[in-house]
Amino acid sequence: MSSFVVGLLSVTIASTAPLLLAALGEVISQRGGVINLGIEGVMLIGALSGFAVAGITGSPWLGLLTAVICGTLFSAIHAFLCVSLNADQVISGVMLSILGVGMTTYLGTSWVGKSVTTFEASAPPLVGGLLSSIPIIGPAFFVHTPTAYLAFLLAPVVWLFLYRTNLGLEIMAVGEDPETADTAGINVTKRRYAAVLIGGAFAGAAGAHLSLSLAQLWATEMVGGRGYIAIALVIFVQWSPIRAVFGSVLFGIISAFVIRSQSVDFPGLLFGWNEGVQNALGGIFNPTVMPMYPYIVTIVVLTVISIYADRDDLGAPAALLESYTRSE
């Protein structure tokens, strides 16, 4: 039982990291007023480019760096279309996803089934050795790959960036009310570009975590809808980088259950319980049913936000989905 719990917790952390990284990036992008439905594609680009460079150079760190750069460059297409050409953000995002799927499927064929030097799970530096020796908690939370630690460290960093730096505050200003921001002398175009590009960098890193830490391989369309989960997550946590941690852990638990319950007969652990309860739990924890929960919950949250939108600002950037043209 305790090894099952440790395994489940550990997989939860590892599967939370990509969702958290992608969601943090998407928070920044949407706070700047640009929704990026293409992060599924950006993550794929990050996953493949990171994997390939790690394979060629033998360094997962160079892989991660490449993934971040490629994610940034790839999302620049979205920034150009939405910010410079005032294109529809939804359509541009859908396009970016299709393009990412197409390009990585095409270019990734030769990397399928290859093994490369990936990140290894270890205790965090300095105090790590001590922490990882704690029973259950140690192996569950303090034996992970660098990208997993990075994801959790970045959440407060993103909060500080948005609320405590000029660039962050300006990004939020152009997402809230571009006209006023423009009048105040903020370059709306530049700040929105920054928001989308930073978002792309995060999604690229999320992709690298998938191929270099979580799965440690490249497979066609390996992101498997996590990009869309991240978008759902941003709405679910109402555009807050701190709540994003809790939201992505919640969604991460679901993915962990999906991964683990295929190897462990979960209802079997409850042997001795009433048969009806066992069946009900078996249905609720069914690995093909569970992936639906994040989407259902997000629809509910989105509906609640919409119902109360007039009464209270729940954090949705007011100018989200709107392009901005300076009126002369």
């Binding site: 939804v90 859908v94 396009m95 299709i98 799927v101 499927t105 869309y228 093909t288 639906m292």
Partner: protein
């Protein structure tokens, strides 16, 4: 002086308005050619196999038609709500719901063939309608963004399909797929060809959509709401009703497409029944914004692209995923040309 000067156009020149879909496709093909060149393939050779070869044989032409059928129906499912200013990017979810409902009826009911087919169609349309009703109702009632909801409903629909083929509808083989439908539950083909009833249905739906948009009061109301929702509301149109009805009709169409693809092509419920038709339909509906006939032409183009990519993949080292790339490029250039249509772009050579 800026190197590139952009001024909003007061009106789009006629030649640009008419030629823009063609310019869009040409630009996408040129960019696709650059990608192929970069990877060391001769783009002319690849395009020749992709766009010319399918026309040289009966089997090739049949493939184009069969690939066009589901695309055309799903595109109408995106096009119609788009007329009312709503984005149904969830065609795939409605498609899967249609296929699931049709499979369930097709495998469990023991009734004569024509009744069975009609029941499967009705079930498919009903299930698709429910999947369109939810985003439509949420949008009409509380203004919930239909784009996000249709996207999420698609993800739920795809996962529901996974659940069905590994659970209640799983077949006897132990594979993640349903049992194969009986001959009675399969759509008739005409004579010795592979063309099936779905071809006729798709054309009838196209004609029906044409009449609905161009000739019927409800069609006018939909276009009015799409063009100016406030004015439509003031002139007495129940915009909420229009929103719900268009989304439901979209769901009906996409659900029917799912049923047809299941009963004519796949023969059983399985994963990947839709290779992202719902997303392709977004591109088609954008290209065909000006009318159902254009939706038809754009579907035909993507049908040809799909059929062509399959023959490219089987005869050259180029992977079938080239379709996704060209598809994405088409959307990319749609967005670019609509900017050029709205703005005059002048490049000042002296500055560069």
């Amino acid at each position: 002086m800026n190197p590139i000067e952009i001024t909003p156009r007061t009106e789009t020149p006629d030649w640009l308005a008419w030629s823009s879909p063609i310019l869009t496709i040409v630009a996408a093909l040129v960019a696709g050619a650059a990608f192929l060149l970069l990877l060391g393939h001769n783009p002319l050779w690849v395009y020749q196999i992709m766009f010319v070869q399918p026309f040289t044989s009966v089997s090739g032409i049949t493939n184009i038609i069969l690939e066009t059928v589901p695309l055309l129906i799903i595109s109408l499912a995106v096009y119609f709500p788009l007329k009312a200013g709503l984005w149904n990017i969830g065609g795939d979810g409605q498609f899967y719901l249609g296929a699931i409902a049709a499979t369930w009826i097709g495998l469990s009911w023991d009734v004569p063939g024509p009744v069975l087919i009609l029941s499967m169609m009705s079930a498919g349309m009903f299930a698709g309608a429910m999947w369109g009703l939810i985003p439509g109702y949420l949008r009409a009632k509380w203004g919930v963004n239909e784009i996000i909801v249709t996207l999420l409903m698609t993800l739920i629909g795809i996962q529901l399909n996974q659940y069905m083929i590994q659970g209640p509808l799983q077949g006897t083989g132990g594979y993640p797929a349903s049992d194969t439908l009986s001959a009675e539950a399969t759509l008739q083909t005409f004579g010795a060809t592979r063309l099936h009833l779905g071809v006729v249905i798709a054309l009838l739906l196209l004609a029906g959509m044409y009449v609905l948009i161009k000739r019927m009061t409800f069609g006018f109301q939909v276009s009015f709401v799409g063009a100016n929702p406030d004015a439509a509301q003031q002139s007495g149109i129940d915009t909420k009703k229009v929103i719900v009805y268009t989304m439901v009709l979209g769901g009906v169409l996409a659900g029917l497409a799912g049923m047809i693809q299941l009963a004519a092509d796949a023969g059983r419920l399985q994963a990947g029944l839709s290779p992202d038709y719902g997303f392709t339909a977004v591109a088609i509906a954008l290209l065909g914004m000006k009318g159902p006939l254009r939706v038809f032409l754009a579907s035909l183009f993507f049908g040809l692209l799909t059929a062509g990519a399959v023959s490219v993949a089987s005869t050259t080292p180029v992977d079938v995923s080239i379709i996704n790339i060209i598809q994405a490029l088409v959307i990319l250039f749609i967005l670019t040309t609509s900017f050029v249509k709205a703005n005059k772009v002048v490049i000042n050579k002296e500055v560069l």
